[in-house]
Amino acid sequence: MKALRDTAEELVEVARTAGARDVVCEVIESAVQQVRFSNSEIDAVNSWSEKHANLFVAIGKRTLVSDLRDLDRGESLAKELVASATRAPEVKGYGGIGTGRFKYGSRKADQGIAKLRDAPRFVLDAISGATSAGANNVGGTMFIRHHRTAIASSGGALATDETSSMDLSVRAFSQPEASGHALCCASRLASMKARETGERAGELSMKARNPVQGDEGKLDIIAEPLLTGSLMHFTADMLSALIVEIGQSMYGKKLGKQVASKEITLVDDPLMDSISRRSFDHEGVPTRRNVLIKNGVLKSLMHNTSTGKRFKTNTTANAGPLVPTLFSVTAQPEAFHPVIEAGDWSVEEMISETKDGLYLNNTWYTRFQNYSTGDFSTIPRDAILRIKDGEIVGAVKNIRISDNMMNFWKSVDALSKNSEEVYWWDEASPPSTLPVLRARAMNITRSA
């Protein structure tokens, strides 16, 4: 870690000496292994090893960022970047980087995960678990991640962080149109329950057997964390100050207003034990637990230093990646680990007290007609179970939730006492910790 930190410090110094006023350098070394499986067999094992540095420089209001991929040429690339920054356009709204005498929390990464070389065995356990529960076709992915990061900045940031994690996603089919999806996120090797995850996916696939065409109308929905994690992807995005600025958020001018039911308290907590735990944001500011929505009232947006200044507040230590990333707005403040505080219901109670509803395992393809109003639709998938008079009476298919995201959060009237960490593909992302929730009278539609 010392070598990474030295590199970060050196590159900051090179850039400053070359004339940059503000500099942030994040050096990242990662090793990621992935096992992909389908049809109950492993298809491919992929691995990625990377070492690179994201370097941000500012000369006055002229800013430029680069991903330095060849660290053997780090010094000359840093000098070139500063030279290019003199010709970069001015960013009028640039408000600097985080400054201060920072103190960082620390937590040790599980070296058992970092050193793991036998990922396929977990996958075979998961397949076996799903099959034993009744599934006949199992697919998914397993990731093993080990990241070592160092950050330094001209604002006083200097820190290192090491994380290791595993995440397993299992989708099991018992019939061509009957499936269940289950996840396991683990920051400790001992927490990886591959077989149990497979079993749960298999059990859900059995409950989803023989689905019938779903009906249109208003129905209560009981959503598993996996489904809510997908909706959280967009909700958290819209709580980013930059997304509010560009008009793609339903939270514009809503600070202090009721934006969810009183049941909902949403925090971003990068410090809790999770697979997305991190000690500092991408400006090097120590991360903290931020309450975004408290008992349904919008308390705060997420900020980096620049958006904080523009909104006449402070950074919330949510600076996102400084380099562009796929399907994101560049340099937007972002959530690291959204959490909805748990309630006091059992899932059984929720079902038994629902007269006319659906129990939903998962969803995908959430799209907005208008981000600023929150009008959206999403397509539930995997186990979609019909609830009538407090009991699950069968499975349905081919439905869509076509409603409004603000209305969804305002309609939540019950939260389970147990929460689960979820992270799946590009849908339930970033990793979040969520309870099962019930939302009343959601609009369900289907194809003609």
């Binding site: 491919a44 094992v45 680069s66 697919g139 340099a331 208008n370 639709s377 397509i379």
Partner: protein, 471 residues
């Protein structure tokens, strides 16, 4: 310059490891620049040079893929060892096989009349500010006004253990545009993308100022004069953008062979199409959808795929019949056919998987005005905003961004937020006319795990659907 010697040395190491079906090496260098402008002011700019390599080893027991962001013989050796071990450890019961394909040795490039790398940041900022000023001049209330302009050049060198050697150079440029028009207490969003393979001359062909002015004026008219559709069954004309998204979502994706055989089952999902459905009817005789990587200058252009297979147009739906799947070498072998060159990876860090390129509805013989002229009562859905489709690619939804009522063959007032929620055979089976003139729209298609964004075009002519339910 990407060194052939490194690739060939890496392949030698692979061949020395033991018996293998295939070893592939890909070297890549990419220079990319990105500029974000918010409400006329630059919000961020970035520039990155990236070089790296990957090795893919195919054994009967599995596929191993390893990559690193550096290029050397030592890296190649290390990646081979890792990928070989991974392929071996996968321990598949059903052996992997690959279709036999010619080992192509060639080089190709997309030429730039105005090289992207020659453009200064000022030139780019100036372009976006001109768009912004043109919008402001309309005096329409437009919030957001956020643009991301990205351009890059990808140099590649591919070689495999069968003797293929392909050198390539591909420049691309793309603009994402986000606008939110407000009027009379209501709002309408517009998120659009332009993209091409080539130099800055492509950007100059887009007519971005006029396009944006027309768009915000149209959205204001939709907001001010639009009337809701009473849910009913009527005729619908879909504009090229709507035809294109339907071609992409409910034809291109379900015809990806990796999805059909289940390879994407836990992410992007499976397909309502099964291998035995080749030749089965999915739409009317007017429903022909082509995926063609070879359209010059298109955003999804490529002449050889990432397995070194020559690209060609693929007729996915042909005259209403399921005609041809999109294949890579693995899926082609599994289904007893040849690859049609559909394997692509976002960059050297990702495994190549089956992808679309430029997917569009084939042109027919109607003039655009004839499409509307024959409708007694209906709707023209010119463009869309919200859309989605289920993971078997059977139930889809499109909500209009621009739509108009049609009465006695004439366009009437704007129709507000028209919803088409329909099945795949419902959509393709209802087509009874297709116009002559095709338009393509650039898009970024997401698939794979980790997610890989892929440059594609979608499009088509106008298509007319008889008797569909609108909401």
């Amino acid at each position: 310059m990407l060194e052939e010697e490194v690739a060939l040395s890496t392949l030698k190491v692979a061949e020395s490891m033991g018996k293998l079906l295939l070893a592939e090496v890909r070297l890549e260098e990419r220079n990319s620049r990105q500029l974000a402008v918010k409400m006329g002011q630059v919000d961020s700019s970035s520039a990155t040079q990236d070089t790296g390599m990957n090795v893919r080893i195919v054994l009967p027991t599995g596929i191993g893929f390893a990559s690193a962001n550096s290029i050397s013989k030592a890296d190649g050796k290390r990646l081979v060892e890792k990928a070989f071990r991974q392929a071996k450890n996968a321990k598949r019961r059903s052996a992997i096989a690959l279709s036999a394909e010619p080992a192509v040795q060639t080089s190709w490039e997309v030429r730039e009349r105005k090289p992207l790398a020659d453009l200064s940041a000022e030139d780019k900022v100036d372009l976006i500010r001109r768009i912004d000023r043109a919008i402001m001049k309309t005096r329409i209330k437009v919030e957001g006004r956020y643009y991301e302009l990205k351009d890059y050049e990808i140099g590649g060198y591919f070689a495999n253990s069968e003797g293929a050697k392909i050198r390539s150079y591909l420049p691309r440029v793309t603009l994402d545009s986000h606008n939110l028009v407000k009027s009379k207490g209501d709002s309408a969003q517009c998120i659009r993308q332009w993209g091409a393979s080539g130099g800055w001359e492509k950007v100059e062909e887009w007519g971005l100022e006029d396009a944006h002015v027309a768009e915000v004026r149209m959205l204001k008219k939709q907001l001010d004069q639009g009337r809701a559709v009473k849910p009913t069954t009527m005729d619908l004309v879909c504009g090229p953008e709507v035809a294109g998204i339907a071609a992409h979502e409910s034809c291109g994706h379900p015809m990806e062979a990796d999805r059909i055989i289940g390879r994407e089952m836990s992410q992007a999902g499976r397909s309502f199409v099964s291998p035995d459905m080749l030749g089965k009817r999915i739409g009317s005789e007017y429903a022909t959808v082509i995926d063609d990587p070879t359209v010059p200058g298109s955003y999804g252009y490529y002449p050889y795929d990432h397995e070194g297979v020559k690209a060609r147009p693929r007729y996915l739906y042909k005259a209403g019949l399921i005609n041809e799947f999109l294949h890579n070498r693995e899926t082609a072998s599994r289904l007893g056919t040849r690859s049609n060159g559909s394997s692509r990876a976002e960059n050297y860090l990702r495994e190549p998987i089956v992808r679309m390129a430029n997917t569009f509805v084939a042109p027919g013989d109607f003039q655009d005005d004839e499409m509307i002229g024959s409708i007694k009562e209906g709707v023209l859905m010119h463009s869309f905003t919200e859309w989605n489709i289920d993971d078997k690619r059977y139930n889809q939804k499109y909500v209009s961004r621009e739509a108009y009522f049609i009465k006695d063959g004439e366009l009437g007032c704007p129709a507000k937020k028209v919803i088409l929620e329909i099945t795949t055979p419902g959509f393709w089976g209802a087509i009874d006319a297709v116009s002559k003139r095709i338009e393509l729209t650039a898009a970024e298609c997401g698939k794979g795990d980790p997610m890989q964004g892929m440059a594609v075009d979608t499009g088509g002519p106008m298509v007319r659907l008889r008797g569909v339910r609108l909401k």
